[in-house]
């Protein structure tokens, strides 16, 4: 189904839910003010629901907004969710942050979201893009004095390319038919380039990747897993992590944040899309995701029943590392 049709359907469903009073709010996307930036939108009335849209640039993880708002007050809300977002909703339910009854999941099989930085790189870093539209498997990128066709596949977000679950895992209303589960990328390859290196080179690569970090914490704040009231980086007694731009402080933050996502990360890529500096934040999280998968045979948020590996003990847990 084309994205425009999906958008139409989302609007219809949202209008119906809102006018019947089934939910107080529908969280979806609306068109942003700059090209390739669709933004989260909260529709409270059927009229507002007309602003909802669906394109290949809906890169925020909307599950994020479920934990950060007081759902007790809002009553039931509906949320537009593709595969990864639905997995995060499952995760939040498992972690008792929300209850299943509080959310109405408008499921949409993900078309594979696109990376605006890649699109920019494709047409040239210095060109100013003023309009981007979709035409089947191509993007039409327009700007001052140029118009280019860019194949979607070439500019897909890394995590969408290696996605293993495009279809939502829990759904109250599905829009469009379920699709192929993956886009063909190999998720194990994400961390591969680093895995081959020697320790010192690996450190160098690692430090280089995060070197431009400005510690705005957009990766943390965009992440539906990072809902702690006080994050460890903000704790002052004791202070785990300094607040400076010093390499050790920056890297401590990233290592620990990634570690806190172990067994919970659904590889939704919201952190990477949110990063204003274009840092490959997933370099760490996807490695942990892979480890958890290989060591415990677990993928986060696939169903409501299975227990997260980091919170249960099983006699057959891997323990080779213990002497």
């Amino acid at each position: 189904m084309e994205n425009q049709e999906v958008a139409q359907k989302i609007q219809e469903v949202a209008k119906k839910l809102l006018s019947e009073g089934k939910v107080s709010c529908v969280i979806g996307f609306e068109k942003g003010t700059v090209p390739m930036r669709e933004r989260p939108f909260f529709a409270y009335t059927p009229e507002e629901a007309e602003r909802l849209t669906w394109t290949s640039f809906c890169c925020n993880n909307l599950a994020n907004f479920l934990v950060r708002r007081d759902l007790g007050e809002a009553g039931k809300v509906a949320v537009v969710a593709q595969g990864c977002v639905s997995r995060n909703i499952v995760g939040l339910i498992k972690e008792n942050q929300i209850s299943r009854e509080q959310v109405f999941v408008i499921g949409v099989p993900s078309p594979g979201m696109l990376d605006r930085r890649k699109v920019q790189a494709e047409v040239g870093a210095e060109k100013v893009i003023t309009e981007v539209s979709e035409d089947g498997e191509d993007l039409i990128v327009k700007g001052k004095g140029f118009e280019e066709r860019v194949p979607r596949k070439k500019v897909m977000r890394d995590n969408c390319y290696t996605c293993v679950q495009r279809n939502p895992v829990i759904v109250d209303e599905l829009i469009g038919a379920e699709t192929e589960p993956t886009h063909g990328g190999n998720i194990d390859k994400v961390s591969a380039p680093w895995e081959k290196l020697q320790a010192d080179d690996r450190w160098a690569e690692f430090a280089e990747n995060y070197q431009t970090c400005i510690r705005c914490y957009a990766c943390r704040d965009a992440c539906p897993l990072c809902y702690c009231h006080v994050c460890f980086v903000d704790e002052a007694q004791p202070q785990w992590c300094g607040k400076t731009q010093d390499e050790s402080d920056v890297l401590t933050y990233h290592v620990l944040r990634a570690f806190h996502c172990a067994g919970r990360c659904t590889d939704c890529g919201a952190c990477e899309s949110a990063c204003p500096m274009g840092i490959k934040v997933r370099r760490l999280t996807s490695k942990i995701e892979k480890d958890i998968r290989e060591m415990y045979g677990y993928q986060a948020g696939m169903d409501l029943e299975s227990k997260p590996p980091m919170s249960v003990y099983r006699p057959d847990d891997p323990q080779e590392f213990i002497k």
Partner: protein, 342 residues
Amino acid sequence: MADKILAKDKLAEFIAALQKDKDVFAPKLDNDRLVWAPLEKADDIVWEFSNTEMSPKDFFFPQTECMMHFKNDPKAEDGMIMQAEPELAKERALLNIRPCDAKAFGVLDMIFCQDEMTNDVYWRDKREKTLLIGLACNDPCPTCFCTTVGCGPHNEAGLDVLLVDLGDKLLARPISDKGAKALSALPEAAADDAAKAAELKKAAEDSITQGVGTDKISGAEVLDLFNLPMWDRVHESCLNCGTCTFCCPTCHCFDIQDEVQGEAGRRVRNWDYCMSWLFTVHGTGHNPRHGKKERVRQRFMHKFKYIPLKRGGEIGCVGCGRCVQLCPVNIDVREVVNSMNA
């Protein structure tokens, strides 16, 4: 002061002269990202660019800056006593800074250096030792709205020299005495060069179509703006990250922290951001700006109402559009301000 002409093939000479007593920095392309970097030779200069990804404010107000150090030994004679960090050793020049970023420094001057007590010596020292050579914007971005916040693509405020790109040569306009000195060796510009620059200026200004209105904000009472119903919706999608404040050329909030390691101790300041819950929380747990709404409102009120109120009408925004481009959830300052002004 008369306009001068700097031919592009004479640039190497000009830069070599600057480098005699200054470290020269300019925007440079680094893996598709435009960043500020030391300039080695004239050929490395980028002429066609919108603006650097981050504002160059960290030249004067580094994200992490050591302010003082001390000997972490209570028994030592001079132990535990704070010693200020030394001043900048060498002068600097920023070449091809955009007028909006330079204007921001003018706004920040008013905040960092208000009077005898509120006199940020760290900021002032670096400002005084830096020559700002601006490059006028001939081709503003769609996200630029400088003309509507008291700035403009050829704005001169805050600069020492303004360069206007005329193709194979640059019109160099001295603005301060410091700037005039740096240009003293150059030939004067002809009348038609100046006319061409004026034309470019007009064209650039006209190409900025989107903007913000601030006329009603300046007349409104603080409390009326503060209580506008629009604040209930603006913050909804905000993630409370620090992207908008860190990329902003006029955001200047900071945090001061002490660090010790063995006998060494230092007091550092780091950028901080008003979107953070921790920014204002009291020791008692009470937080005057406890919610996302309060914090988002603070940022816009500060820039568009509080700063103008306190600083003679100067708006705390220069319209560079970075926050519009970088905000992860696309909270567009233009929309927010326009609804404040409604």
